[in-house]
Symmetry: C2
Subunit: 129 residues, 2 copies
């Protein structure tokens, strides 16, 4: 569903902006790191975060990702969080890897944080070249 021409935006360290809906039906949006497994768009967060709590109530999300070197080349995704992976070993390895990809060093979250890999199934995709 993600066009080959724009898969790099999910795999090469471009910041994504993730929108969720607050319980009062207002929107929330914040920058995140993303990843892609060929089927799902992945991100890695901590339970307790605003975005995590919003998704628990309403699993619909949207992403806006511009090319770091050309903001007029972008990828927009609407979708649903269809799976959450709470395996701590896996989730911590994943966020460490994203740290390397995004800023050149492993990211190690506080021990007290419960990390989760969120899997988004895209339902609508729009690209700009």
């Amino acid at each position: 569903m993600i066009p080959d021409s724009h898969v790099d935006l999910l795999l090469e360290g471009h910041i994504a902006h993730l929108a969720t809906v607050n319980p009062d039906n207002t929107p929330q949006v914040s920058p995140i790191w993303v990843d892609y497994d060929g089927e799902f768009v992945l991100f890695n967060t901590a339970t307790g975060r605003k975005k995590y709590r919003n998704i628990k109530m309403n699993r619909a999300v949207a992403l806006s990702i511009t090319d770091t070197s050309n903001p007029y080349r972008f990828l927009l995704i609407q979708g649903r969080v269809v799976e959450k992976d709470f395996d701590q070993k896996k989730a911590r390895k994943h966020i460490a890897m994203l740290g390397i990809r995004y800023y050149g060093q492993e990211f190690v979250p506080p021990e007290t944080e419960e990390r989760v890999i969120m899997k988004i199934k895209p339902t609508f995709v729009h690209i700009s070249k």
Copy 2:
């Protein structure tokens, strides 16, 4: 309400990601140009666009703006569209100016487009340094 330390993110050509809520309570987000008049965060769109129609139904919006040269310095805003200015001469002059600010040349939208300056009153602001 916008801290002095982060006003530049609204005034110096950094891409903003604007989130709105679709009628089915799913989120929508897309990159836009922004501006700031000291009180309201402004953006300039065309009537008929998805974001325009969403705001007509639900005026709550959110913005995520990362510094082009350092994505870990960012500004998050939640707010409401409290005013829409349909003065075509003003709106076209405004979008032409934003073109210069964002990519070095006047932006001239098609004659057929009705442009509108949307004014957002921030209700919640979060910064990362």
